[in-house]
């Protein structure tokens, strides 16, 4: 059972306080987008063995959404950060590089 540090309230929350929200950094496509864009936005998801970026909500806690970078194979957590960003911040990316040199995830590395 995971523990993630909630960057919003500072609690090291166990999984029963958290709600998983799937992949992070997905760009929304609305009216005006073509079928492929919209289809990919709604349905296509990464399924990596290794570095992954996810959305979590501290549901039984401060209620805030945040992002977590972790390894799906070992459950190592590289860091958590606020949800109000469209890309992983540099310190998180550096932390991953230190542990998993050469990592690539979608357009980020």
């Amino acid at each position: 059972m995971l523990i993630l540090h909630c960057p919003c309230c500072g609690v090291d929350a166990e999984e029963t306080e958290l709600h998983a929200g799937g992949e992070a950094h997905i760009k929304r496509f609305g009216p005006g987008s073509d079928d492929d864009q919209f289809h990919d936005y709604l349905f296509m998801r990464e399924n990596p063995k290794g570095v992954h970026f996810e959305r979590w909500q501290h549901a039984n806690g401060c209620g805030k959404w945040f992002h977590a970078a972790r390894c799906t194979a070992t459950l190592e957590v590289f860091g958590t950060y606020r949800a109000q960003t469209t890309e992983p911040p540099k310190d998180i990316r550096d932390a991953i590089t230190a542990k998993r040199p050469g990592w690539v995830w979608r357009e980020f590395s």
Partner: protein, 188 residues
Amino acid sequence: MSEPISALNGARYDGIATIEELGLQGMITLRGDLDEKGLAKAAAAATDQQMPGPRKAHVTDDSGLCWMSPDEVLVLVPYAEVEDKLAGMVKALGNSHALAVNVSDARAVFRVSGTHAREVVAKLAPVDLSDGAFKPGDFRRTRLAQVAAAFWMEEDGAFRIVCFRSVADYVFKLLKVAAQPGSEVGVL
């Protein structure tokens, strides 16, 4: 108008800790920029308390402020004064972007006290409640078994627990089970 009635009308249980439903507590959810001076001033004016930092509660008797999230504070005031305090706060907030709303009747409040109070709560919440980790003035939003709850510790080592009114009966019964005679863990 008739007298207002709290969810459990002051129910009480004595086991390895004492469980009391405390009756109505004035509560205002205040959302806004907690670092903003005007908001902190409005909250302080209503409660005579300074704005608490993360995971802290500043409470004396029926008045106080509890840090709920980076943009939310729970304002405690005497129940009878909640409408006046709310009106005062709304006025003080003026045009700044904030939300203040009376939630007094949406909640139930319990006090868990006695030697084993920490253990009773630690049976239901995934929180480190050892005395080094959770001290008077500490505030935590979490779950009690299957429902959301928040609690803080008072100066005498007792807990105040806030939950939704609809589950007050469930929470009271939970606390009773957790405080049943012979269930001392003997570690907290």
